[in-house]
Amino acid sequence: MALPIYASPLEKVWHWTYKAICTAIFIFLIAPILIVIPLSFNAEPYFTFTEKMLSFDPEGYSLRWYDRLLTFGMQAPDAPRDWSWWRDVLANATWLDVAWNSIIIGFFSTILATGLGTLAALGLSRSEMPWRRSIMAVLISPMIVPIIITATGLFFFYSKIEIQKWGVPYLGIIMAHATLGIPFVIITVTATLSGFDHSLSRAAASLGANPRTTFFKVIMPLILPGVVSGALFAFVTSFDEVVMVLFIAGHDEQTIPRQMWNGIREQISPAILAVATILVVVSIALLATVEILRRRSEKLRGVTAG
């Protein structure tokens, strides 16, 4: 955004003020996320930069909070770190346990949301679809309705049908998270399909492909980037969700956000910052994947990016 040559002094001042304002807002956006990273290496149990940290003294930094993540919940955290110590970690470490739960719940709810959502998006993008607008409104509504309301309703519903007694672990929470992820899948896949050239599938049909072959050989490869980024959205939604877990998850179905919630409410320690740092790294990886997929999708669809 270059300043035109005829700009008046007042406009010049405004131009630089404007840039300064934007910089400040960008700092406001990103600072809270970046600040937790160095603080998670704090050698002291404080939430602020110590003098040693500011002077880049190696003594000011340590990995003790990451270590705490492993040892928290162990039976003998101070035992010598041999084979049996690691076995204790795998068996008892609380954070590992909840991470495992998060991954299982996230994985299955993503599969459910992506499968059902993609199928529905294919139907919704057909021009023959009746009541398109109303159906779309219903399918998107889990994203709009406050989660606390959905969670309250599910709590009543699950206690009525006694889902805990069905003996399928994680079932209730997986279905709940899939419901929350579905709008994201619908939005991303219908967006991809809106740029889809339907003459391609007609061409495939005219060349003798049956509907199944057309779908797997022509349609699927083209919409795959959209489907994958929808799936990533659904996974992140589940991975980050805490209200549903608070309301309907069983005692052995606690997730990473739930454990963080506990940690923040009871006694906040820099170990939470270590978890936060790991999650920031995960979200950077996810963001990069989605960006790559988006560009790939645009290239496939022939939409050139500027």
Partner: protein, 413 residues
Amino acid sequence: MRGGLTTADGKPLKQALAHAQARAKRKALLLVVPLLAFILITFVMPIGQLLFRSIHNDGFSANMPQISAWFDETKAGDAPDEAAYAALVADIAAAAEARTIGVVGTRVNYELSGTRSLFTSAGRNAEDLQPPYREAMLDLNEKWGDPQLWGVMRSVSSAYSANFYLAALDLARDENGEIVRAPEDRRIYGMLFMRTLWLSALITGLCLILAYPVAHLLAVLPLAKSNLLMILVLLPFWTSLLVRTTSWMVMLQEQGVINNTLVALGLIGNESRIQMMYNQAGTIIAMTHILLPFMILPLYSVMRPINPSYVRAARSLGATSWTAFRRVYLPQTLPGIGAGALLVFILSVGYYITPALVGGASGQLISNLIAYHMQDSLNWSLAAALAALLLAGVLILYWLYDRLIGIDNLKLG
């Protein structure tokens, strides 16, 4: 030529076409049906269950059948006779036996506080009571003759009632069944609804003020540069909500980064550190940060295609840069402002986690009260009624959003 055009196998073309279209329609619908069924089970039915709970509570009627029958036979205002007291004693004794007397007492207690112990203590003594039951009950506790208590028992003797909605709107029934406003010190829900609306509006306004310049900058920069800066917007968007809330707790604490920086710069004294957390300020700051990307992204997608030559034309025709912005640029961005503001407002009225963690007492929103009634006070019907009111508000806004912007235009990232 009879009957107009026909297909190769002799069917009238119109009929064949209608047939084919109906089949295509069915096919399209068939693809959506599994998801609709899933949403019906995991979303629509639970919300139906919630609405049912908000008007239905059989804590009294299911456990006190005889006295409920007596209420059915008599009309409001009838003084309780000996038969009523006999039914009451029999029910209390049976409920005490079945260990449901606490449920009964709790149900009555929602309407008239301080009555739960009346029922539990009567439950312990009901076995030993001898007729005449009226005197026996009054001996036990004077309050059993209170017309207000009998009025409340009459109103809860039916499992269905709108009383939880009345409570959620700070209303109550007096002994004659008239709807009156709740006592001054009990009117908390109206205040909380107002606070939720006010804070949401404030956060939406703050988001708009912060998002507009940034979105504009992103829209006018060359794509390579703006994609790079876009990462700064998208990274917070993808980062866990709890991580963002945690980092705000770290920054806003009394011993946190912001206060320490201000002290180190000498702007404030070490004793006068600013309290920025566990109050409304905490809720406002953290929620503005969390919802900001939801405002920037719709604004950006509207601003990007705006042709810069309009503003240039306005300038060349003699408009000052302010006039050109106000009369030419701003009106073109109104759809983005509408979309972003509605989305942020809808999301913030239902926010729960951030206010619960950084809001303290003064930064709590209506969702936090729903959670409180679900988890701590265990008045589930009241929680359901509050949730239903919130749901109604959100659905109106959602309908508005669909009308004005259209949900098809909802974009992510």
